[in-house]
């Protein structure tokens, strides 16, 4: 069983739309949505949720105002600017309170409070799901708004997708990765059989591609590059492919700028289902060439 990851560096290049089309083209895959803080794949794949689990990770500090003596040791020790003075309801005494959006969950305040007035409950950071779709199983997740640990949730989604593939004897896992180059992307990439980077011929696309290629090389993952909306700037598209080759990545095709992709999305369909055929063919060619670079057999069209 092999794991293939689609990422982009820059957001909004069409990564999720392409991944959804690949889900339709792969005959025997499990699809995983690794973009857990803005998961969108389910909007095209219409999952029917079969299993739902809580994602628990880390702790957060909560000051019990009634027990706080207002010494401020917690605020002085916190390196994340998460603790500030507050007024205790009732007697108006000066106490301290934790801003949950800034709390790193390190516990420094908890262990160093002289009167042990700080609780440290485990956090429920989101949920994850195993679902059925018209193309096979989908493992996806929802991080709670502003929750931390999205990298851990990405790892969990991948782990569950691999387990599902093993149970159902499916030979591919296709992961829709998050944007950027940080913690969640690293979690999406490590140990994958191949990564496809979807970029666009803009100055930002070219710049961000260079950074994600460096990341793929760092983790020694074979990289392929697809240029979406290539006709916005054909010259830049050529330059991107040259740079990709120089960095050891395989250019595997181009997809044109076409409002049909937006129309398909509004219908809740993948481009290979909604058409037009000419656009769908460009995506099929990218999928086929990507698999060829990895020596993975291309599934027969139905």
């Amino acid at each position: 069983m092999k794991e293939l990851v689609v990422i982009s560096g820059k957001g909004g290049t069409g990564k999720t739309s392409l991944t959804a089309s690949f889900a339709a083209l792969a005959r025997n895959a499990v699809v995983a949505d690794g973009d857990v803080d803005a998961a969108d794949l389910h909007l095209l794949l219409a999952p029917d949720v079969r299993r739902r689990e809580e994602f628990r990770s880390g702790h957060a500090a909560v000051v019990r105002a009634d027990d706080c003596v207002g010494c401020g040791r917690c605020a002085a020790l916190c390196r994340f600017e998460a603790i500030a003075p507050a007024t205790r309801p009732g007697d108006g005494a000066r106490v301290f309170a934790v801003d949950p959006s800034a709390c790193e969950g390190c516990g420094v305040c908890v262990w160093n409070c002289p009167v042990r007035a700080i609780d440290f409950p485990e956090q429920v950071c989101g949920e994850w799901f195993v679902s059925g779709t018209r193309f096979g199983p989908l493992v996806h997740a929802r991080l709670h708004p502003g929750a931390e640990n999205s990298g851990k949730l990405v790892s969990l989604v991948r782990e569950q997708a691999r387990a599902t593939a093993q149970q159902e004897r499916r030979d591919l896992v296709i992961v829709d990765g998050p944007p950027g180059t940080g913690c969640p992307v690293i979690a999406a990439l490590t140990g994958a059989a191949g990564v496809l980077i979807v970029t666009e011929p803009t100055v930002s696309g070219a710049h961000d591609l260079a950074r994600v290629l460096e990341l793929a090389n760092h983790f020694k993952i074979p990289a392929a590059v697809c240029i979406n909306k290539w006709d916005l700037n054909p010259e830049q598209a050529d330059g991107i492919e040259t740079a990709a080759r120089a960095a050891g990545a395989a250019p595997v095709g181009r997809v044109r700028y076409d409002k049909a992709a937006t129309r398909a999305q509004r219908q809740g369909l993948t481009v290979v289902e909604a058409g037009p055929d000419s656009l769908a063919d460009e995506i099929r060619a990218v999928w086929r060439r990507w698999l060829e670079t990895l020596a993975i057999p291309v599934p027969e069209a139905p």
Partner: protein, 282 residues
């Protein structure tokens, strides 16, 4: 309260036009002879510099403090490993530190009974400052493969000039990096597009940012006949600050890294109106 306001430009979905809005707001503020600073907090993929082409005057390494154990003093009690919430210290015969897992909280140094832990900075990236013409510029560049973005974002924001209107260009999504960017901003502009992905991710961003208590407004980029985002904003009582029409020429101008004002003069008025809408809410 600082002298000049700070405005964060965020979005749920990536690629909706955050950077475009931020740099054109910066240019608009200049037309009004306002002092303005652009701060690129999208430290994983900073792009504003591609359009503003700043001259960088200062590059400073930003690190987080990670523990170094003095083996001669260590009594191998294991308290440091026990207190670490991030599994960055494993207890073998002596403590073994994994610096890339360390969040720099200092718990281990505080708990060590014999003072055997000192902290030394581990670089996560650089913070750069400079000027792009009259626009003051700051950005962070996170080292590739580095997971700890929020400390660098805080370092970029620490370089803000309180006399200038600050424009924080946020990373996409709803994660801790976005929260670190938006925290303390006087106003948040959410840039979205009228697609199911755009609307879904806008809703997630609103759910993340509303509890932070900052006033929010929405810019609908690539606006067309699909009105679902505007309907959502009305239902959620969110002001629509601007609808920027879908135009292939905009995409092409952006692709070349050029400012829209130079090619498409009618866009200047659109950003004038947007700034007026933001200013009346500050």
């Amino acid at each position: 309260m600082s002298a000049a306001p700070s405005i964060a430009i965020a979005s749920g979905k990536g690629g909706t036009g955050k950077t475009t809005v931020a740099i054109h707001l910066a240019a608009t503020l200049l037309f009004h002879r306002r002092s303005v600073q652009y701060l690129d907090c999208d430290v994983e993929e900073p792009n504003g510099h591609l359009f503003l082409k700043p001259k960088i005057d200062a590059v400073e390494s930003v690190g987080i403090p990670v523990p170094v154990v003095d083996a001669a003093r260590c009594i191998a009690c294991g308290k440091c490993a026990g207190v670490c919430e991030f599994n960055a210290i494993a207890m073998l015969k002596k403590p073994l530190v994994f610096p890339e897992l360390c969040h720099g909280c200092g718990a281990c140094a505080l708990v060590c009974p014999v003072g055997a832990i000192r902290e030394t900075p581990r670089a996560v990236g650089v913070a750069e400052t400079g000027r792009a013409g009259c626009i003051a510029f700051a950005q962070g560049r996170l080292n590739v493969g580095e997971p700890m973005a929020p400390p660098l974002i805080r370092a970029v924001k620490a370089r803000r000039d309180p006399e200038a209107v600050a424009l924080y260009d946020s990373p996409p999504g709803t994660s801790c990096s976005v929260v670190a960017t938006v925290r303390g901003a006087d106003f948040v502009v959410l840039v979205t597009e009228p697609t199911p992905f755009g609307l879904h991710d806008l809703d997630l961003a609103v759910a993340t940012l509303r509890p932070m208590g900052r006033p929010l407004g929405v810019v609908v980029n690539r606006a067309d006949e699909d009105r679902r985002v505007q309907d959502y904003c009305q239902a959620e009582n969110l002001p629509v600050l601007a609808e920027l029409p879908d135009d292939r020429r905009v995409a092409e101008t952006y692709a070349r890294g050029e400012l829209l004002f130079d090619r498409l003069p009618d866009w200047r008025g659109r950003f004038e109106d947007l700034w007026a809408r933001i200013e009346e809410r500050l």
